[in-house]
């Protein structure tokens, strides 16, 4: 391959990459720009705001929409964190058993987990709505967390059991020969190796819970449990004739921040190459 083809290939890759980036990030950029536009500016058919203002952020954080947004933010954070914690805890146990132990019904568990994930959310939500109302879970945190587990558990079990299968379990035996007790071998060798997988799973299931809309809007009715994606639909403008798009955009930007922060914080821990070099490689 001569240099010219490499250069051309490089250029093509850059162009293709840029195209994908623009396609993916343009709507985000638009929402950011929208969030800085004043109410009069919203329909100006321009990408950049004529005059960047913080009105929209003011409105949702300290203004009229404050109660609606801040309570929704609190609900979202609480529900997503609890749902993630439960999903990771349960799926760690489950995946450990699937990766390490031989027992009848192993396949059944994995297939069931997949089957649960196949059900469209929209088909479950109506019966769930009725059931929750009867047993008093409607518009409560547990009432949202439980359906979220049905979304996060299957994927957590699958990713974690795939990850655990790659761990060279022979290391546990090596540690025991080196003088470790079963517990020491687990804590000093297996846990450090399993951590990146657990973190990856936690982040994936946090995103799923954080981004859900259908359960959020169908199983809640007040600020007691309504998460942000659902609350966005209830925003109104300053008057009923005003477009709430600016406020919605501002709220969308704010709820995106934790996701970005999480990825930036943990991307180093998600390094999957950590187990390389244990064995021959």
């Amino acid at each position: 391959m001569d240099e010219r083809t490499t250069l051309r290939q490089k250029a093509l890759w850059w162009i293709a990459g840029a195209a994908v980036l623009i396609y993916a990030l343009f709507p985000v950029a638009w929402i950011v720009s929208l969030s800085f536009k004043s109410a009069a500016d919203l329909g100006n058919r321009q990408f950049l705001p004529a005059d960047a203002v913080l009105d929209n952020y003011e409105m949702i954080l300290v203004g009229d929409a404050q109660t609606l947004f801040l309570s929704a933010l609190r609900n979202s954070i609480g529900i997503a964190v609890i749902a993630t914690f439960l999903a990771v805890l349960l799926s760690t146990f489950c995946a450990y058993a699937i990766a390490r132990l031989e027992f009848p019904g192993k396949k059944v568990i994995l297939t069931t987990a997949l089957a649960v994930a196949i059900f469209p959310v929209i088909s479950i939500v109506t019966p769930l709505f009725n059931l929750w109302r009867h047993i008093g879970l409607y518009d409560t945190w547990p009432g949202v967390i439980i359906p979220y587990l049905s979304l996060t558990l299957p994927i957590s079990i699958w990713t974690l059991s795939a990850f655990f299968r790659q761990i060279p379990w022979e290391l546990e035996q090596a540690a025991q020969v080196d003088g470790a007790t079963t517990w020491q071998a687990f804590r000093r060798v297996i846990v450090p190796l399993a951590t990146p997988g657990v973190f990856t799973t936690a982040i994936i299931s946090f995103f799923i819970a954080w981004n859900d809309f259908v359960y959020g809007i169908s199983l809640t009715s007040t600020e007691a449990a309504r998460p942000v994606p659902a609350a966005l639909a209830f925003f109104t403008g300053a008057s009923q004739f005003e477009d709430p798009a600016g406020a919605i955009a501002a709220a969308a930007v704010i709820v995106t921040i934790p996701v970005v922060v999480l990825v930036l914080l943990f991307q180093r821990r998600i390094v999957s190459g950590l187990t390389q070099g244990a064995v021959k490689g």
């Binding site: 025991q176 020969v177 080196d178 003088g179 470790a180 244990a278 064995v279 021959k280």
Partner: protein, 399 residues
């Protein structure tokens, strides 16, 4: 350091299959013993039983004077090098080597001193800060050895430690292991399926077949006096030739003519119709260049040579021949057990490199009858082997 003693050791799996069957073996303090055999012979299982990773179904295992059957691996104070090294990927080379010492709760200065000592011995000093992922195969192997030697354990156990290295590195590390063991003088049990490792490293070699100990002897003795067909076929490369022979009136009729064995090699043949003659490739030679002084000790015969392999320091000629079906089947079975496959019955003949015999020709070959073994095809016993090595090897059982 300590001796390792096995008394009637048995490993039976859940389905009743005995992976290791009634092993008696005494490994002296400071001795280097090799466990060798084809895959599935139970050699790795036996090693894992010594270290405590497999339960012992019955029998007794002693390390020093202590019975250790029920002891956990960590209480046996043995160091093991695994086939795939089993390094801890999240720890640096230093911490990998220090791992057993940290578990012993030694103080930092002592750990530092011992790890550096081991690193110097293994030339790992400049790699101490790196992670295993960034090391070459040979370096990883040395780290695994380092982790074993800092322990000052009672014995070293190696489970095919060189099988993941390429051929050149394997040769170097083999010498390195031999040197290290001599220097430290520590009892060592080494599992391998590689003959070269088995022959060069061990003070004694234990050959296993289907969980049963066949013969325990020095490499030299194993090669010269194999107790049965299995050992004879397993040790040596190219392997020993087995030639069917019909017994008649003190002579052996082979596909290559009648042979009369010298007295030193004549076992009691009464009641036997057919025996197998075992002859190593180097017992043959080109009849044209055999010196007259030894010619009378052997027999000369004509043979059709179809292929010749010239290797520089030696050359091998291949002589296909027809054998009776039942013998042929038996030899094929033996080959299969030895992890190889016999496509045809043939002689592998070692020739002097000076020999001018051409491929696809009929040549006159010479076989040194003083080095021939006679095997009972039914029991597999070597009828010419002196009985001494059976007694000497502490309960070695032959099939």
């Amino acid at each position: 350091m300590a001796a390792i003693t096995m008394r009637n050791v048995v490993k039976q799996y859940g389905d009743g299959f005995p992976a290791v069957n009634d092993i008696n073996l005494d490994i002296a303090d400071g001795e280097f013993v090799i466990l060798v055999g084809p895959s599935g012979c139970g050699k790795s299982t036996l090693l894992r039983m010594i270290v405590g990773l497999e339960d012992i179904t019955s029998g007794d295992l002693f390390i020093g004077d202590t019975r250790v059957n029920e002891k956990a691996p960590r209480d046996r104070n043995l160091a093991m090098v695994f086939q795939n090294y089993a390094l801890y990927p999240h720890l640096t080379v230093f911490e990998n080597i220090a791992f057993p010492l940290r578990l012993q709760k030694l103080d930092d200065a002592e750990i530092e001193r011992r790890v550096h000592g081991a690193a110097e011995l293994l030339e790992l000093v400049e790699h101490l800060g790196r992670k295993p992922a960034n090391l070459s195969g040979g370096q990883r192997q040395r780290v695994a050895m380092g982790r074993a030697i800092v322990r000052q354990a009672q014995a070293f156990l190696f489970d095919e430690p060189l099988s993941n290295l390429d051929a050149k590195l394997r040769g170097q590390m083999r010498t390195e292991i031999a040197r290290l063991q001599k220097r430290l003088g520590i009892t060592t049990v080494y599992v391998t399926h590689d003959q070269v490792e088995a022959m060069t490293l061990g003070d004694r070699v234990a050959v296993l077949r289907k969980g049963i100990l066949q013969q325990v002897a020095s490499p030299r003795e194993l090669y010269r006096e194999p107790v049965n067909l299995f050992v004879a076929g397993f040790i040596g490369s190219p392997p020993m030739n087995f030639i069917p022979a019909v017994v008649s009136a003190g002579e052996l009729n082979t596909p290559f003519g009648a042979m009369r064995l010298p007295d030193s090699r004549s076992p009691e043949l009464d009641g036997k119709d057919i025996v197998l003659l075992g002859a190593r490739p180097e017992s043959f030679d080109d009849a044209a260049i055999v010196s007259d002084a030894v010619r009378d000790h052997g027999v000369t015969f004509e043979a059709n040579i179809d292929v010749i392999e010239w290797l520089g320091n030696e050359q091998y000629a291949y002589v296909p021949y027809e054998a009776p079906d039942d013998i042929r089947d038996q030899l094929a079975d033996l080959e299969r057990e030895l992890d190889s496959e016999a496509l045809r019955t043939q002689l592998v003949v070692g020739l002097d490199t000076a020999s001018q015999i051409a491929e696809n020709s009929t040549a006159s070959l010479w076989l040194d009858l003083r080095q021939v073994h006679v095997f009972d095809p039914v029991s597999g016993f070597n009828m010419t082997a002196r009985d001494v090595n059976v007694d000497e090897s502490a309960g070695a059982t032959a099939v």
